[in-house]
Structures are given as structure tokens and as C-alpha cells.
């Protein structure tokens, strides 16, 4: 099978092009270097099947970063039949050095001038024939985002694969620069007028930062306002499905099996599933913010402050990314070259309130706080999350010193298309289903077993295995106001935070509204907040730990990233619960 590689700098729209070509759902990020894994897919190209590989975006083929090494190794070791070099048309000048390095490899190449929509808006024109003739390589104009020129790309790829491109000597950098100068027409004052205008407001010296936090608060409020009714609706539908269809259908099954299927698997899974609309919404909103390029602005606004904590603007963006899911954020730290800064950032990311933890909070907040209090309680947890990251970096900044330069490109504002948004939403549903099959089903089944054995005990009672385990740990957790049932949920939350609510459904043997009512009767708001603080801070899920271990290959650091949050969680919850009890009594 022939192999085609997509190569180019970060922010040239490689991932968007990859999505367009394959229909696969590589994440599109307006953040330099987000595509960190080697995405690949099979592609039918006329009468043949080829493999398309999306290489990480790099700045230099001879650089020393991890991504640059990945690409160099790939080109040296993997036979590549065609390189599609993706160029951001309006900023072609600074990409020519990389282009000349790639051309020097002598591999057949198709030059794709991407983002022609932006370039033509700036009045930039390209003479494709001249450029192609001078470079002696095929050149193709494209807007991967809006699909302009897509229909002619596949024939161009086919032709590039079949024609013999072996040249005697690849052109030098100055020859390439000359060819581009001849073929390109750039107006003297080429700039993105809309971006200039927006930046004047969004990067305003006084209002920039408050505006940014305002946008974020609005985003969380929006997720809550739209998502909560959707969640209630989904929960109602799932309960109705149980009473109308599942209960009659499983009536003839042995009682034990019925219990496992309905009270174990179905209750657990449906409680978690009811959160899907909320999560999809959250990722959709975050995705929009990310795709527009606002996150790079956030890096600019926050850098001076982050420098005081030994971090930089990129760390801040990774922390924000962590609000979606910690795992991609941990992998995203690969763009940071300084080992000290990278480790420090990795130590702080797990405190980012990820969407899985948000499920737990939304559930408890809805159960124990009024609708007016709800957004503020959630916001206080976000503040706490950021505070924990700051405290952590302040404590460890002498241990992990940052010696990396802070240089970041600032992409123009880009507006996501409906297509991109649908892709993001769908990707999240798929991600959830994936995790559901891997962790949640196994988790809830295990909890059901723990709460229903030894045989003959009342489900979830003090005599069950779970009850005994919970009691055993009570001396440790009762000072935090966390009861035996919640302790069990915490234990399983170690695997994945998505399990926490599902496991409570199994432990209490109830779901939906009934579960909320039970919780309201059993615990106070102080206990609930203490529990939420613990869930927020304690050790991230197994996937996050595995990622830290993979990325650092350092057992000592991995151990620290488990132990530090665990200890802090206990201390913070203890401090909160004891103070709150002292004040209210």
C-alpha cells in the first residue's frame, strides 16, 4: 500500500485537511502543535488504496523538539511515496525554510497552498502555473475548511503519485524564495482587518483579562442553562424506558441476574448517560473557543501572571484544555521544550476540573443547592481548581525550573464552521461510549457485586462487602464528613470520575429523581461540598496517570503526581469540613 504523509507547520490546517480527506475525526486545534499522535487512515484514491499519515506540525526539520524528532525519524525510516506539504498561503514566507528542507529529501511532493480563503480576503494572489513550473513540483490551491478546491485535490494526488518526480538537484532556499516572489502578489499592507479590530477589544490592556474571565463564566453558565433541562429530559427518558420496557422484559429472569442487569448495569450506565448532553455541550463550547484562536490570546493575557508561578502562557492554555479532559492536555505539553516547565505543567493539569468531575458536581449541586446558587457553586469549584494549580506550581517551581523561551504564534481569529462543530460533538459522544464500555460497565458491575455480596445481605447495607470496606476507611473519611457510601464511590472514582455518580446509583439502588432525593435526605450541603472538594483535588483517573507515566517515563514523578493530590485533597476537605462545622454549630 502506498503511503502519503501530510507535513507542514502548526496552524496550517493539516488536521482539517486530514479530516476532509478521510472523514476521520482528528481534532482540529488552533493551538500550535496540538496534533501530537500519528493519525493515519486508509484512503481510496481512484483505483488504489493508500495510507494517509498526518505528521505533527513542526517548524524545522533539524530541530530538537520531540515532534521534530518524530517527523525526522518518520521520513528516514518509513518509505514515503508522496509528501503533501501544507502551507498557510498568507504567511508563506516563514515556511519556505521548512519547505526547502523537505524538498532536499528528494521525496515526491505535492504542495498544497491552504487557507486561500484567508489569503484572498487579504488581497493575496498566487500564480499556480508559474510557481509549479519554477519549483518543478505540482501546486494545488485549497481551502480545507470551506472545501474550496477539494474536488480537484484527489486527482492531483493521483497524478502526483503516478508521475516520476525524481529530480537531479532540489532547488536551494534562495531559488525557492525567488520562485515564490515571482508567483505571489502580496499587497503592501496585508493584514487581517477583523482580527486587528477584535484584538483591540479582546486584548485591551485593562479590559482584556476581565473580558476573558467573563467569557469563561458565560460559557459555564451557558452550559448549565442549556444542558440541565436536556439532562433532566434524558434521565426521565431513560427511567421511563426502564419501567416501560426493561422491567417487564426481564421479569422472567432469575432475581439475581435481574438485579445485576437493572440495578447494576442499567442504573449505573443510564445515570452516567444522562450527562452526555451536558458534556457534549461543554466540549462544543470549549471547541469553539479553541478553534477561534482565543486561547492564544489567553496565553498572551495570562503570561505575566503565570511567570510569577514559574509557568508560562502555554501552561495556562493547557490548564484550560484540561477543563475538557486532562489526558489530551497532558499530551499537549509536548510543545514545551523545557523539561522543568513541562513537568511543572503536568503536575498542575490534573487539578483542572475536567468534564468527568463536572458530572459529579452538577449532580450534587442540583441535589443540594438552589438554581440561583448552582452556577456560583460550580464557579467556586473552578476557582478552587485554578487555585490548587497555582499553589502547586508555587510549591514546586524551584524543583522544576523553567528555562524555555516563550515564543508563540498568534493565529488570526477563525470562525468554526457548522461542520467542525458537529464533528466535535460527535467525537465527544464516541469518546464517552468508548470509555463507557472500557471503564464504566466494569466499574458498576464490580460495585454491584461489592454491594450485594456476601449472599443474602441487604443491598448496599453495612454487612455487604462494600459496607465493610466503607466502614474500614471511615476513621480516615469521617473527619471530612464523607460517609461510608460516598467513600466507596470515591474508591471507584480513582478508575474514572465518570463512575462516581453511577456507583452511587448502584450503592443506593436508585436512579434519576429518586437517587437525588435519597442523597438529599442522607447528606448535608457541607458534606456534599467537602465531598466535591475531595473529588476535585484527589488523584486524577487511571488514564491521566497512565499518560503521565508514558510521557515522562519517570516513576518517581508519576508517584508524586498520585500522592500530592491525594494528600492535598484530604487536607483541603478536612479544613473545609471542620471549619464549616465549627461556624455553623
Amino acid at each position: 500500500m502506498k503511503r502519503i504523509a501530510l507535513l507542514g507547520m502548526p496552524n496550517t490546517g493539516k488536521s482539517t485537511l486530514f479530516n476532509r480527506l478521510t472523514g476521520a475525526h482528528a481534532k482540529v486545534g488552533n493551538w500550535p502543535g496540538l496534533t501530537v499522535e500519528l493519525l493515519n487512515a486508509r484512503l481510496i484514491l481512484g483505483d488504489q488504496v493508500v495510507r494517509l499519515v498526518d505528521l505533527p506540525g513542526i517548524y524545522d526539520l533539524n530541530g530538537y523538539s520531540d515532534d521534530e524528532k518524530v517527523v525526522t525519524t518518520f521520513l528516514e525510516t518509513q518509505a514515503t511515496d508522496l509528501i503533501i506539504f501544507v502551507l498557510n498561503t498568507s504567511q508563506y514566507e516563514r515556511q519556505l525554510n521548512l519547505l526547502s528542507q523537505v524538498m532536499a529529501k528528494g521525496i515526491p511532493m505535492l504542495l498544497v497552498m491552504n487557507m486561500v480563503d484567508e489569503a484572498s480576503a487579504m488581497g493575496i494572489t498566487v500564480d499556480v502555473d508559474t510557481l509549479s513550473r519554477k519549483l518543478q513540483h505540482p501546486v494545488h490551491l485549497l481551502s480545507a475548511k470551506y472545501g474550496q478546491g477539494m474536488e480537484r485535490l484527489q486527482p492531483a494526488m493521483r497524478q502526483a503519485l503516478s508521475t516520476d518526480q525524481t529530480k537531479s538537484t532540489p532547488p536551494s532556499l534562495s531559488e525557492i524564495e525567488k520562485a515564490f516572489k515571482e508567483a505571489m502578489r502580496v499587497p503592501a499592507q496585508a493584514s487581517n482587518a477583523l482580527t486587528d479590530k477584535l484584538d483591540k477589544v479582546l486584548l485591551h490592556p485593562l479590559f482584556g483579562l476581565p473580558l476573558f474571565f467573563g467569557v469563561m463564566l458565560l460559557l459555564f453558565e451557558g452550559v448549565f442553562a442549556i444542558g440541565k433541562p436536556l439532562q433532566d429530559g434524558t434521565a426521565w427518558l431513560l427511567t421511563a424506558f426502564r419501567t416501560a420496557a426493561l422491567e417487564p422484559l426481564s421479569a422472567h429472569l432469575p432475581l439475581m441476574l435481574q438485579g445485576l442487569l437493572l440495578d447494576g448495569v442499567y442504573n449505573g450506565l443510564s445515570t452516567v448517560a444522562s450527562f452526555v448532553p451536558l458534556i457534549v455541550l461543554f466540549f462544543l463550547f470549549m471547541g469553539i473557543v479553541e478553534d477561534t484562536g482565543y486561547l492564544s490570546r489567553a496565553a498572551f493575557l495570562m503570561d505575566a501572571l503565570m511567570a510569577k508561578f514559574g509557568l508560562d502562557g502555554r501552561s495556562f492554555v493547557m490548564l484550560l484544555m484540561g477543563f475538557g479532559c486532562n489526558v489530551p492536555a497532558l499530551m499537549g505539553t509536548r510543545v514545551i521544550r523545557s523539561k522543568g516547565l513541562r513537568y511543572l505543567t503536568m503536575l498542575t493539569i490534573p487539578f483542572s476540573l475536567c468534564s468527568a468531575r463536572m458530572q459529579v458536581f452538577v449532580f450534587f449541586i442540583a441535589a443540594l443547592f438552589t438554581a440561583e446558587q448552582a452556577p456560583w457553586v460550580l464557579f467556586s469549584l473552578y476557582v478552587m481548581s485554578i487555585l490548587m494549580s497555582i499553589v502547586t506550581s508555587l510549591i514546586f517551581k524551584r524543583e522544576y525550573v523553567n528555562n524555555d523561551a516563550f515564543v508563540l504564534e498568534m493565529p488570526p481569529y477563525r470562525f468554526p464552521t457548522a461542520r467542525q462543530m458537529v464533528l466535535t460533538g460527535w467525537q465527544e459522544v464516541r469518546h464517552f461510549l468508548n470509555r463507557a464500555t472500557r471503564f464504566i460497565v466494569i466499574g458498576v458491575v464490580m460495585i454491584w457485586i461489592l454491594t450485594n455480596f456476601p449472599l443474602g445481605v441487604q443491598s448496599g447495607s453495612i454487612d455487604s462487602w462494600a459496607g465493610q470496606l466503607g466502614n474500614l476507611l471511615q476513621p480516615l473519611f469521617s473527619p471530612l464528613g464523607i460517609n461510608a457510601e460516598l467513600t466507596i464511590a470515591l474508591l471507584f472514582g480513582f478508575i474514572a470520575k465518570e463512575i462516581v455518580i453511577g456507583s452511587l446509583a448502584v450503592i443506593y439502588g436508585q436512579e434519576g429523581g429518586a437517587l437525588v432525593q435519597t442523597i438529599t435526605q442522607h447528606i448535608t450541603w457541607i458534606q456534599a461540598y467537602s465531598f466535591m472538594l475531595f473529588v476535585l483535588i484527589y488523584t486524577p483517573c487511571v488514564s491521566a496517570i497512565a499518560t503521565i507515566r508514558n510521557e515522562t517515563k519517570n516513576l518517581k514523578f508519576t508517584a508524586l503526581s498520585i500522592a500530592w493530590p491525594l494528600v492535598t485533597a484530604w487536607l483541603v476537605s478536612f479544613a473545609f469540613y471542620q471549619t464549616a462545622m465549627f461556624v455553623t454549630h
Binding site: 524545522d60 484584538d199 498572551f300 505575566a304 516563550f406 515564543v407
Partner: protein, 109 residues
């Protein structure tokens, strides 16, 4: 063998020191003194004359369009000694003042 690079370094330092203590708008009769990027303020621009950083960082600057001869304009500077927002050609980038100190300019007239 070590002496020559040290001399060059100290010369550069001296230049930088003089530049730092000289007024930005030098009178037209005097030869222009090396000016470093971090001293430019909002709206000012210049042409890059020399970049005194290690090779790896230089490559990264290069890939952002920051190279000898490039025209740089300061779009804005962040508060509290934060980074600078620059335009180089048609690209934009942000850079900390610490790194901007390493970039010598001649002001464009």
C-alpha cells in the same frame, strides 16, 4: 581560542548597555545605536539587525518569520511586564521581553 568569542560577547553586551542608556530617538546626525526590540513601544517598528540567541531558539524565531532583515512592528505590550504582540510580515507572534532583549534592531524611517 576561547578569547575571540568572549570578546564578541562582551562587545555585544557593551553595545546593548549603551543602547539601553541612550535615548530611543537618536538625533539624525549621530549614527544609529543598536536598539533592542523590548524597548520599542506600542505602534513602533524596526528592522531586525542581529539575533543573539542559541541555535535552537534562532530556528524557532526563523520559523515565525523573525530573522535578520525582517520588519517588525509592535502591536501591543501586555501589562505587568508581560509579552509583546508583534507583527512580522503577514504573521503575528508573542514574545517575552526577556527574549526580545536578544533582538537588535535598526528603526525604520
Amino acid at each position: 581560542m576561547q578569547i575571540i568569542p568572549i570578546c564578541v560577547q562582551s562587545l555585544k553586551f557593551l553595545e546593548k548597555y549603551i543602547a539601553m542608556h541612550a535615548p530611543i530617538t537618536a538625533s539624525p546626525h549621530q549614527p544609529k545605536l543598536p536598539l533592542t526590540l523590548e524597548r520599542l513601544s506600542h505602534g513602533e517598528s524596526g528592522n531586525v539587525m542581529a539575533i543573539n540567541v542559541e541555535d535552537d531558539l534562532k530556528k524557532r524565531f526563523f520559523a515565525m518569520g523573525l530573522k535578520e532583515g525582517a520588519h517588525v512592528r509592535v502591536l501591543r505590550k501586555a501589562k505587568f511586564g508581560g509579552p509583546m504582540h508583534l507583527r512580522v510580515g503577514t504573521s503575528e507572534l508573542i514574545l517575552r521581553l526577556k527574549e526580545a532583549c536578544c533582538i537588535c534592531l535598526v528603526t525604520a524611517q
